[in-house]
């Protein structure tokens, strides 16, 4: 059974069709990239999968179960984590607290423990968070307020916040946008490492085709809310439709 199956997904905002009958499937531990020009509907697709938008019609199956009509927190509990294109961190919290929030669902929550300062759970999850802090090399920023951190670090914190959720499927919305070449390579390495080490399936939006074609097992190309092509990176890049969408008429 496939990890994620999107079936005839359509999203309409008034008269605008943001997505029209999108179909694709992804397997476990697969890295699937979604590419396309600006306004193609990539982020809308992510918002549908993570429950921020509700699609007009179509079906999204995660591990065989429908995600339609679920609120984002329920979807997160099913095992889908995501990052955002324009960073959405909790700016006034420390890096550590941001990552601890990623463990929120895994906490055994008890209001009495909160009031009486019983912090067994906290220590348990701190171990896991520290593991990810090492993995992402964030130790120097652990206690820093997120808003004071440089952009590259914020990107990594957001990545870390999604990783500590230990999802089965990770949605990464432009994880390397705005980074230096060095940082891009590092994130690219982290993405492959994440699949190997934690066994996530990763759905990736990215504009940097050089990075994407290296990372992705398969690609889906969107343009104006429609699926243009699907296949492995080499195939997709030779597809004349894709070339037309990206470069224009030749």
């Amino acid at each position: 059974m496939s990890l994620l199956k999107v079936d005839k997904l359509t999203v309409q905002f008034g008269g605008i069709k943001a997505l029209t009958a999108i179909d694709f499937e992804m397997e476990e531990k697969e890295i699937l990239a979604i590419i396309g020009p600006n306004g193609a509907g990539k982020t809308t697709l992510f918002n549908c999968v993570s429950g921020v938008y509700h699609p007009t019609s179509g079906e999204i199956l995660f591990a065989g179960e429908s995600l339609l009509g679920l609120s984002p927190d329920r979807i997160a509990q099913r095992g889908i984590g995501r990052t955002f294109q324009n960073i959405r961190l909790f700016n006034n919290m420390s890096v550590l607290d941001n990552l601890m929030l990623g463990r929120h669902m895994k906490f055994q929550r008890n209001i009495l423990q909160a009031f009486l300062r019983i912090r067994k759970e906290e220590l348990l999850h701190r171990e896991k968070v520290e593991e990810i802090i090492d993995f992402l090399d964030l130790a120097a920023y652990r206690q820093a307020r997120v808003i004071d951190c440089p952009y590259g670090v914020q990107k990594r914190v957001e990545l870390g916040r999604a990783i500590v959720m230990e999802p089965k499927l990770l949605l990464l919305d432009e994880p390397v946008a705005g980074l230096t070449v060095e940082e891009k390579n590092r994130v690219a390495y982290l993405v492959t490492e994440m699949r190997g080490r934690f066994g996530f399936g990763i759905l990736l939006i990215e504009h940097d085709l050089r990075i994407v074609s290296r990372l992705a097992d398969r690609m889906v190309v969107l343009n104006f809310g429609q699926k243009l092509a699907e296949g492995n990176p080499a195939e997709v890049q030779r597809n004349p439709e894709v070339i037309r969408a990206y470069v224009g008429e030749g």
């Binding site: 509990q77 919290m93 300062r117």
Partner: protein, 326 residues
């Protein structure tokens, strides 16, 4: 040296020995106050402890969860009148207090429901409407408010050979400390983190699995519980309440205390409470100017110290901690 050696050390309530030292000294000073201070000082102290409980609650809602509310007087009134009626029925004080808090928390949840859909100024308007509606309800139904004479409430009894005022002082000091500790614990727990997450970025919080409905309503319930206790204690302290005490300006004073004390800070709540109690006392000769002073202070705070008195306090501590380096 204060090196953190384990994850557990990171979770300590009091990090530095010096902090523990002056906190202990402050508590001892407060405990000794009835022996050395005059009656007026005891009166002021009691009032500050009572009010700081309410301000702390509203700080959880406004400062930490970021839900702007202007209906505090409503919760105060609900707490005060439920306590009054329960005390008149002969319930023991502890039980009546708990009941008053729970009653306010129940209405807090009801008022919280619009917060699931509304944000910022829109929520402020809804809660403002609630505050005024509660005031009107109590003003028009004499069964609830005890009629034109108001509701007479049995005062706190004299205990352990102390005067009645001193007993009340110790009881509010005890409650104030208990609520302060509880608040510190709450905000450093997973729940406090979830509250701040909702304030900073609700969509991201939701995607991380924070149930917005539950935590927003929880925040409303907890904050109104605090405010209900504040109202009940205030009623017991005064020995008499009438609806006029809980009009809209009371909501504004609480809001002002939260802002001046410092948003998202427990110490700030205490400072804010002290400010709104002490300023009218200091300027008691110029009563009509008190709102002006509040207003001007809020403007200055907003411009020069957005973190309020707590921010100033924090910077002061940082300065002395690092002295002579800067």
């Amino acid at each position: 040296m204060n090196l953190v050696e384990s994850y557990k050390d990171d979770l300590k309530l009091i990090e530095k020995p010096w902090t523990g030292c002056w906190i202990t000294m402050t508590v001892i000073a407060l405990l000794l106050l009835p022996w050395f201070g005059n009656e007026h000082l005891i009166y002021m102290g009691t009032l500050i402890f009572i009010v700081s409980v309410g301000i702390m609650g509203q700080n959880i809602l406004i400062g930490y969860t970021g839900q702007i509310s202007l209906g505090q007087a409503g919760f105060l009134a609900i707490g005060a009148f439920s306590f009054g009626h329960m005390a008149q029925m002969g319930l023991p004080i502890g039980l009546a207090l708990l009941g008053a808090g729970c009653m306010a928390a129940f209405f807090g949840v009801l008022v919280g429901f619009p917060s699931l859909r509304l944000k910022g100024p829109y929520l402020a308007i809804v809660t403002l409407g609630f505050g005024i509606a509660v005031y009107q309800t109590f003003a028009s139904f004499e069964v609830l408010s005890g009629g034109r004479m108001g509701l007479v409430i049995p005062k706190f009894p004299a205990l352990f050979g102390l005067t009645r005022e001193a007993s009340m002082y110790y009881f509010s000091l005890f409650l104030g400390i208990a609520f302060t500790l509880a608040t510190y614990n709450l905000i450093s727990s997973y729940m406090g983190r979830a509250f701040v997450a909702i304030r900073d970025n609700d969509i991201a919080a939701e995607v991380l699995g924070v149930n917005l409905t539950r935590y927003k309503l929880l925040s409303f319930a907890i904050s109104s519980f605090y405010t209900g206790i504040h109202g009940a204690m205030f009623a017991m302290f005064m020995g008499f309440i009438d609806p006029q005490m809980f009009n809209f300006s009371e909501s504004l004073i609480i809001f002002v205390a939260v802002v001046i004390g410092g948003l998202a800070s427990v110490e700030g709540a205490i400072f804010g409470a002290a400010f709104v109690i002490l300023v009218p006392q200091v300027f008691s000769g110029y009563k009509e100017f008190v709102p002006v002073i509040f207003g001007v202070t809020v403007i200055f705070i907003m411009i020069f110290e957005p973190l309020g008195l707590a921010g100033r306090w924090f910077k002061m501590r940082l300065y002395y901690r690092n002295w002579p380096f800067r």
